[in-house]
């Protein structure tokens, strides 16, 4: 079981959280201009790295707030967690 630190409540078991997939996926700035390929990219394509991955979690049975976690998908190590308005630690890759 993962031990994940909520930025507001501290470290709690994975079972207190809900997983929300890849973080930092912005809604298109001008949706009306998108091609079908770009819509497909936005709706269906997400990164799937074997290694560090920035993802969203929600503290569903705690403070009910969303935040981001940097986690290594190969080792399951939770590297750090941070608020939605903070940039991904260590840059984008």
């Amino acid at each position: 079981m993962l031990l994940i630190t909520c930025p507001w409540c501290g470290p709690r078991n994975e079972t207190e959280y809900h997983y929300g997939g890849q973080a930092h996926v912005p809604y298109p700035e001008s949706p009306a201009d998108l091609t079908d390929e770009q819509w497909a990219e936005f709706v269906f394509y997400r990164d799937n790295p074997k290694g560090p991955f920035a993802e969203r979690w929600m503290h569903s049975i705690g403070c009910r707030r969303w935040f981001n976690v940097l986690r290594d998908t190969a080792t399951h190590e939770v590297l750090t967690s941070y608020r939605l308005d903070e940039p991904r630690p260590g840059g984008n890759r």
């Binding site: 079981m1 993962l2 994975e14 079972t15 809900h18 997983y19 997939g21 079908d36 390929e37 819509w39 497909a40 709706v43 269906f44 394509y45 997400r46 799937n48 790295p49 074997k50 991955f53 993802e55 986690r71 998908t73 190969a74 080792t75 399951h76």
Partner: protein, 406 residues
């Protein structure tokens, strides 16, 4: 039902050749799908200058980790067609491959625990029948006749309100299936090369012309990926992005028991699926872990929930001991249907996204993928499962019939 003896192994099943410098076709991944593809490339298309490259050992990936359930009761026409093609192939495969892999058509029950489950189940039974797939809707008392150890009392937390039943569904010994396919592919001239990891791709302009491996560079006319959980990691090295997410999926077995469980029971709602292996273990699976992962292990609370559901449905299992748990890595697509077809890179083909349910499809996955790799065109059965459906929007949404939470 009596406990069956396992089949004897033939002495030698395949050669272990060193890789040649060049092949007409290279298949990446010697799971069931890679092996079936090689077998049908040789058998149906006469293409025998083929190598199957496997980074670990033959069929040591999800092929060795799945709960072996075979069925074809999917909702949509496209899925019913391909899974039913697989089931028909399964029915002839032990004889064709001359290898008894204990394909046992003991039927599958998919339980309904809510009114919505009931409606979905009845709808699927009707859809299945229209597609020539055997399917029945059973009321709780009829469910109990098929599987007497199942608790169909109305006093459980999520009572059994009925079930779909597919009598021709069943289980098979997965390892033996792989060995049976490997032996025949090998006899037909295919090189099965273990301990050979593909680390990159050789390209000539937009065309793939070979692969880099830890055992040297191998040229290829065409390359087919059948790498299950690692398909996106691999495709990315060829410059292809796939809409798949890799998740841990766990299963477990109990110690051996007398034959008590005559069929396969799956529950989408309380989330457990159970059958009894030929040797006597209870084989149980659960849903995927919610997060992405490549660690080949998952979270304990998933096992806890699956056990709680199993004990409620099968009170007789309350004192059974868990012997082993393990995880595999499955590649899940947004519509819970596979991707089989060409990629934006010429000569590179992909068979992936089977997620939690690709074992049952093994012969049809191989049949259609071999056709696609051999001819450069989709077979009518896999044409709807092309990568471009995520752009056109022609999705094949099988989350309901996939029967595993993801």
């Amino acid at each position: 039902m009596t406990a069956e003896a396992l089949p004897e192994h033939p002495d030698f099943l395949w050669r272990n050749p060193d890789p040649k410098r060049s092949y007409d076709v290279v298949i990446v991944g010697a799971g069931g799908h890679g092996l079936a593809t090689a077998y049908y490339l040789a058998k149906n298309h006469g293409i025998t200058n083929v190598a199957v490259l496997e980074k670990g050992w033959l069929a040591g990936g999800n092929m060795a980790r799945n709960t072996t359930i075979i069925r074809s009761n999917y909702l949509w026409d496209e899925s019913a067609a391909i899974y039913e093609h697989a089931l028909k192939l399964w029915e002839g495969l032990p004889e064709e491959l001359d290898y008894d892999f204990l394909f046992s058509q003991r039927g599958v029950l998919n339980l309904a625990h809510t009114l919505q489950d009931v409606r979905e189940g009845v709808r699927r039974v009707n859809a299945n029948r229209l597609n020539g797939v055997d399917a029945e809707w059973l009321e709780p008392d009829e469910v109990a006749k098929v599987c007497p150890i199942l608790n169909v009392s109305s006093r459980t937390r999520y009572p059994v309100l009925g079930a779909t039943f597919q009598p021709r569904a069943g289980i098979a010994k997965h390892d033996h299936v792989a060995w049976a396919l490997a032996r025949r592919a090998d006899e037909l001239g295919v090189d099965l090369i273990q301990g050979c990891e593909v680390t990159g791709f050789l390209k000539d302009g937009d065309r793939v012309v070979g692969v880099d491996t830890n055992r040297g560079r191998i040229h290829a006319g065409r390359v087919g990926l059948a790498a299950a959980g690692h398909s996106s990691v691999l495709a990315e090295r060829a410059g292809v992005r796939l809409p798949v997410q890799s998740h841990p999926l766990q299963a477990l077995v109990s110690e051996l028991h007398e034959p008590v469980h005559p069929t396969v029971v799956m529950s989408n709602h309380v989330h457990v699926y159970v059958s009894q292996a030929h040797k006597g273990e209870l084989v149980m699976g659960a849903g995927v872990d919610s997060y992405n992962g490549y660690g080949q292990r998952g979270s304990f609370h998933v096992i806890e929930q699956q056990m709680a559901a199993a004990v409620e449905l099968f009170p007789i299992f309350a004192r059974a001991h868990v012997l082993r748990t393990w995880g595999g890595i499955v590649d899940v697509t947004p519509d819970a249907s596979p991707i089989i077809g060409s990629t934006p890179v010429a000569g590179l083909y992909v068979n992936c996204g089977w997620g939690t349910g690709g074992f049952k499809a093994t012969p049809a996955a191989g049949w259609t993928f071999a056709h696609t790799v051999a001819t450069g065109e989709p077979h009518p059965l896999n044409a709807p499962f092309a990568l471009d459906r995520f752009t056109t929007g022609a999705l094949i949404d099988e989350h309901g019939a996939a029967a595993v939470a993801h």
